[in-house]
């Protein structure tokens, strides 16, 4: 059994940061390349003492950062000006200043998380959780209060006696040989190790399952219900509050809807003539509106000029002319009553014309009447 063990390297223990720095400098001087230093905390200046090349991790961060920046610009442009353009605050769809914070966040997030992951998987070889130094006394010491130097047997200058005399020259204590564990010898680093992937999957399953169970079953909290469920009664829903069980309630008696003042003069045209006055001013816009509505709804029977010679060609009895003395002497309120109630064959026009439009039509009718019976003063 003992003979089959293969040497991994030699370790030495030091008591102070100065000693380990000195030893590392000496090891570099002699020309060892495959050696490592283990300390309980980061030592300033160690990378120089070990003559380490600058870390490549910076390039990973740069590439990830730049590509995340590009990706952020592209997706922001695509989402907000092509796929789902929404006007926000009157700004253009592609408004660069608004994107900058998002670009910044995406860049920083991707670069930092990606760099950490790259460090774990490529530099620390993460799925591999075994190393010859694990479980040794050496590792116990350097992870509490000692400083250790380790030289690998793979080093070109490795030779057992030379190593021992080197450790002696730098006053190392506890110089020990470390051997490979059998299963580690032929290990090849794979990021997508099946065992590790299964572990990740199981971990994800347990975490999400436990979360779901705790929130949903144990605490009766629906995760992420957001706006789906609100504390309000929806239409057609059964009510638990009212004894009749109706979720939709009738308005209180006498309720008047906003903007729908009820007509008080139904069947009382003379009272309407007395009480109602035209509330809207005569302007170009009002007359235009009146003309439009008159031409649409009134002119089929009353004719464009109000003469009563209609386009209906006798399918209905022709209405009397609007230019008669009777109609010309009517008050606005009286005409309003006709529009509201209808007269003879004419039905009510309340559904076709809203309040404003009725008064506008009345203004327009007045204008028509005046055009046929102009006074001398109108010509001037």
């Amino acid at each position: 059994m003992m003979k089959e063990k293969i040497l991994y390297g030699y370790s030495g223990i030091f008591n102070s940061p100065d000693e380990i720095s000195h030893a590392a400098e000496k090891a570099t001087e002699i020309g060892f390349t495959k050696f490592d230093v283990h300390t309980p905390y980061p030592l300033h200046g160690m990378n120089k003492a070990m003559n380490l090349a600058p870390s490549k991790l910076g390039y990973v961060a740069l590439i990830l950062g730049l590509s995340a920046l590009m990706g952020a610009i592209f997706s922001l442009w695509w989402v907000s000006s092509i796929e789902y353009p929404i006007i926000v605050g009157g700004k253009p769809f592609f408004s660069f200043p608004a994107f900058v914070p998002v670009m910044f966040e995406v860049t920083v997030l991707t670069a930092s998380v990606g760099t950490v992951l790259a460090m774990l998987f490529f530099f620390f070889k993460l799925p591999n959780n075994s190393h010859p130094l694990h479980g040794t006394e050496y590792m116990q010491k350097v992870s509490s209060d000692k400083f250790g130097l380790f030289i690998q047997a793979e080093d070109a200058k490795f030779e057992e006696n030379a190593i021992k005399s080197f450790f002696e020259s730098v006053h190392a204590s506890d110089v020990n040989a470390v051997y490979w564990d059998d299963e580690e010898i032929n290990y090849k680093h794979r990021i997508f190790e099946p065992k590790f992937l299964v572990f990740l999957f199981v971990a994800a399953l347990i975490t999400s399952g436990a979360t779901y169970f705790t929130l949903n079953k144990l605490m009766n909290m629906v995760p992420f219900n957001w706006m789906m469920e609100q504390q309000k009664q929806n239409p057609q829903q059964k009510s638990l509050i009212f004894s009749d069980g109706y979720g939709m309630r009738k308005p209180v008696e006498g309720t008047i809807a906003r903007g729908f003042l009820p007509y008080q003069f139904k069947g009382l045209p003379d009272l309407a003539a007395e009480k109602l006055i035209n509330p809207i001013p005569i302007t170009k816009e009002v007359l235009a509106l009146g003309q439009k509505k008159y031409d649409t709804f009134c002119s089929p029977c009353h004719d464009y000029q109000g003469t009563g010679i209609s386009r209906l060609r006798g399918q209905f009895p022709n209405p009397p002319s609007l230019h008669s003395d009777k109609v010309r002497n009517w008050k606005d309120g009286r005409i309003y009553a006709v529009i509201m109630d209808g007269q003879n064959v004419m039905p009510s026009y309340t559904t076709q014309l809203d309040e404003n439009e009725r008064w506008a039509v009345i203004h327009y009718v007045r204008a028509l009447q005046r055009s046929q019976n102009a006074k001398e003063s109108d010509i001037k």
Binding site: S21, H44, G45, K48, A49, G58, K91, A98
Partner: protein, 395 residues
């Protein structure tokens, strides 16, 4: 660790050639400034504001650095601290630049005209703060505060050179703790008084910190240039290496980002809210040839130095550090020009011999003052208990 057994510092005289260069620049600058004031006092007064805020940035920003070093207990910057202290002593130039401005205050500040204030609701509402008397009181009080702390802190540090008294360090820590809040207030109100009140109808709540970010950057750039230049030529203590340079470069890089962050925040908030009383300030700088100057600001003040100092080796390279510290110093002047000059020339960028006067004068005075101080003092705080650890500093 490879520690240095003793501090090796040999005091050397700076070359006399530098003295004559400083003198020449000062005289040249003085001639241009005086000629400018005779020919076009309005324009020169606006330039004077740029020159004034520029030297405040360098001197007071440097004092802030000294205070921060004491408060944070930083060791890497201790070998450079005497240089920072000398730079902070440039604060005596400030009154020289203030006096001509106080004589010409009516030609730069709209709010100093009583008839304009009375006719204007906004200005009369701001009058309790923005009036000439209170303004002068503030200016004098701020200069007094800066000079007082500059004197006290550097005096203790100087005495320490010979006495090696460690209690002086703790006394300076206390002084720094008192100074830092004063610095925050004085530098914010300096920015508001001298720069923002040029356009008294405009306001930006972030403006104080905007000026602060440029202040620290300018001070740091000046210190970096002088420190690298002197160390290369062996005027400083032995043992200062790339690790020290890297720290200077990293701080420069950090504050370039900080400036961009603040400048963009100011723009973004105003752009988003889109209120006419705020946006007009940016629109003014987007008109005529000012648009080029504004775009140039982003490139000069952020993009170029950002990419220049992004990588680790570039922060350790003395050549690049010297180049970019000068670049950033110029960029700060460019930034101040962007803040001030659109109030003088609304139609477009105005560049002529007037604009050279104050930078030349400032640089000349700084060189003369530095040489003068370096004759009397060591260039390294040799009595500081942190110095040895500072020299041994490794990344």
């Amino acid at each position: 660790m490879s520690s240095i057994s003793k501090i090796e510092y040999q005091k050397k005289e700076l070359p006399s050639r530098l003295q004559s260069i400083g003198l020449l620049l000062t005289v040249l600058g003085l001639v241009i400034v005086l000629a400018g004031y005779l020919i076009n006092p309005d324009r020169m007064a606006f330039n004077n504001i740029i020159g004034l805020t520029f030297i405040i940035s360098i001197a007071v920003g440097a004092l802030f650095f000294v205070a921060i070093e004491y408060l944070s207990g930083a060791v890497w910057s201790t070998p450079f601290r005497r240089i920072i202290e000398i730079v902070s002593s440039f604060v005596i130039i400030v009154p020289l630049f203030v006096i001509p401005l106080l004589l010409n205050v009516h030609s730069v500040f709209h709010w100093t005209h009583p008839e304009a204030v009375n006719a204007d609701k906004i200005l009369s509402a701001k009058a309790p703060y923005l009036n000439v008397n209170f303004f002068i009181i503030r200016v004098i009080a701020f200069i007094a505060i800066w000079m007082l702390f500059q004197y006290l802190i550097t005096k203790n540090s100087k005495i320490q050179d010979s006495s090696k008294d460690q209690t002086l360090t703790s006394r300076n820590i206390k002084l720094s703790a008192i100074f830092v809040p004063f610095f925050a207030l004085t530098i914010s109100f300096t920015g508001i008084d001298w720069l923002m009140s040029l356009e008294p109808h405009w306001f930006s709540t972030i403006f104080g910190i905007y000026y602060f970010s440029g202040t620290v950057l300018a001070a740091l750039a000046t210190v970096t240039f002088i420190a690298v230049k002197l160390n290369e030529n062996g005027f400083l203590v032995k043992g200062l290496i790339a690790d020290h340079y890297y720290s200077l470069g990293a701080l420069l890089f950090a504050f370039i980002n900080f400036w961009a962050y603040i400048a963009f925040s100011q723009f973004l908030l105003i752009w988003y809210a889109n209120l006419p009383e705020e946006t007009f300030w940016f629109l003014q700088r987007w008109e005529g040839s000012w648009v080029l100057w504004t775009i140039g600001l982003m490139i000069v003040h952020f993009i170029v130095p950002y990419f220049g100092l992004l990588s680790q080796p570039s922060k350790m390279d003395p050549k690049k550090l010297k180049f970019f510290s000068l670049w950033i110093l110029a960029a700060h002047y460019y930034d101040l020009y962007f803040l001030v000059m659109p109030n003088y020339s609304k139609s477009g960028v105005a560049l002529s011999w007037y604009e050279i006067g104050f930078p030349v004068l400032t640089v000349g005075l700084m060189i003369i003052l530095f040489i003068n101080k370096s004759k009397k003092e060591n260039l390294v705080p040799i009595g500081d208990p942190k110095l040895k650890r500072g020299i041994d500093f490794r990344l």
